[in-house]
Symmetry: C2
């Protein structure tokens, strides 16, 4: 199997995202290897050795995706026996021309604690944890968004992703059977915050499957129960005009991107 | 301010990461706008209108970073009045040549629920939540890693990031004053799992500041208390040869990348 290297003097997240997106266009499996924080010439030489070994072992030149601010380190990596993609670099000159400003690379400018919004993200993570699963109804004033839905419809992972990636304070509130009675009505603690609500729903079959992994053969996981709960919440969303989406076919990344696009909520981090 | 657009028929995460890394090389502020899920020609035309408006409003051509699988939609976006970077595309032909295989783009291949590792990530998030803050000592058999450290040294956000991004099951255990007594010894529930432990530490001044935001003027937040606790945990790490890092200057992304590099822990997701 051919190896793909993602190398940087920072986290190498940019190289990973770029290289992975590019290689996902090909119907081939790769052995992915990330080497972050290559900050000295000595380390760069060790990386070259690794790349050479992998070439010898597999007989195929590895693909090497790298972004490195330090010029000496970069020069060493660019001499690897792999096929080297200094993929940001070829865009720098054209963008300099467009902007009329020379580039001014600084180490660790992305994905680092030096991003101004770093503390906001940590605060948002703490907020999501403290306001998970309806645990803290009195803090909803602070929420940027309140995700609602039945148990296991994807609220918690989505709240955490919104917090970690975008610095958005997302609370989440589960509709339980007790809320439902004859007909699910808007729970009193949520009424004041109607404009912050965003609903999740999911296919009954998928919900039943997810719940069965937690409590097999329970009423909670039964298809009948899942159908009833989902019908009630979807009726509520429609009646109260709460925007909502069906999470069945979407990843957390997709759900989050759709929520931002649909609500116009501003992320606090790029 | 000049506008940068990140456009895709998927989440646009790849465009954001690439464009943001490129623009972070320039000492200029941008107005960042993401438009995900542009899946129809009609939507593409609406995007063109937006880009034109933004050009008219600011007098500067927006930068447009895009990756779009659908050829008709892509063609429309490529005609925008902005400066258009179909940044993956120019690497496709050279990589085809290297691999000897034609590319086979499919929609939503990255950042989507179709990635094989999706369920593993959700399970890892649930695991991190259930095993946060020493709450569930009996599940450590399942852990890929157990983060240890004093309260507020960064364990929880790091556990969640490892789970969400990499599908790694990270438990975390806080050393409390009760553990310390005369000298901090290895807490009994951790002994069996010594090879899974990874320690976090932090500068006392920074810890005191973080704790003060939670409980101002408390003993818990006092510099003296923070110094004592950190001295004890660092002594334990050294005595027991637990690998550790000082999180003071690092973001969650950097801490996570360093942990993976140092422990050799395999991520379950790329």
């Amino acid at each position: 199997m051919r190896t793909a290297y993602y190398i940087s003097d920072g986290t190498a997240i940019t190289s990973e995202v770029f290289g992975h997106a590019l290689l996902s266009l090909f119907p081939i499996k790769f052995n992915h290897t990330t080497i972050p924080f290559v900050e000295t010439e000595e380390e760069a030489h060790r990386v070259l050795d690794k790349i050479s070994e992998s070439f010898q072992d597999t007989g195929e030149r590895p693909l090497v995706f790298y972004t490195i601010v330090n010029a000496d380190v970069r020069k060493i990596i660019s001499r690897s026996v792999g096929i080297n993609y200094n993929f940001l670099d070829q865009f720098v000159a054209p963008v300099e021309k467009v902007l009329g400003v020379p580039s001014k690379p600084e180490k660790h400018r992305t994905h680092s604690i030096h991003e101004k919004t770093y503390d906001i993200r940590i605060e948002a993570v703490n907020y999501a944890l403290a306001n998970d699963d309806g645990s803290n109804l009195k803090n909803y004033d602070e929420a940027d968004i309140i995700l609602v839905g039945v148990s296991r419809s994807g609220k918690t992972p989505t709240s955490l992703y919104l917090a970690l990636q975008y610095g958005i304070k997302a609370a989440n509130y589960p509709f339980t059977e007790e809320d439902m009675g004859d007909m699910l009505k808007m729970p009193p603690p949520l009424r004041r915050f109607k404009n912050k609500l965003f609903g999740l729903t999911i296919q009954p079959e998928r919900l039943s499957q997810i719940r069965s992994e937690r409590r097999a053969n329970s009423r909670y996981a039964s298809l009948q129960q899942c159908r009833m709960e989902l019908r009630e919440v979807e009726n509520l969303y429609r009646r109260e005009k709460i925007p909502f989406l069906n999470s069945t076919r979407y990843s957390i990344e997709e759900i989050s991107a759709k929520i931002l696009a649909e609500t116009g909520l501003q992320r606090k981090k790029y």
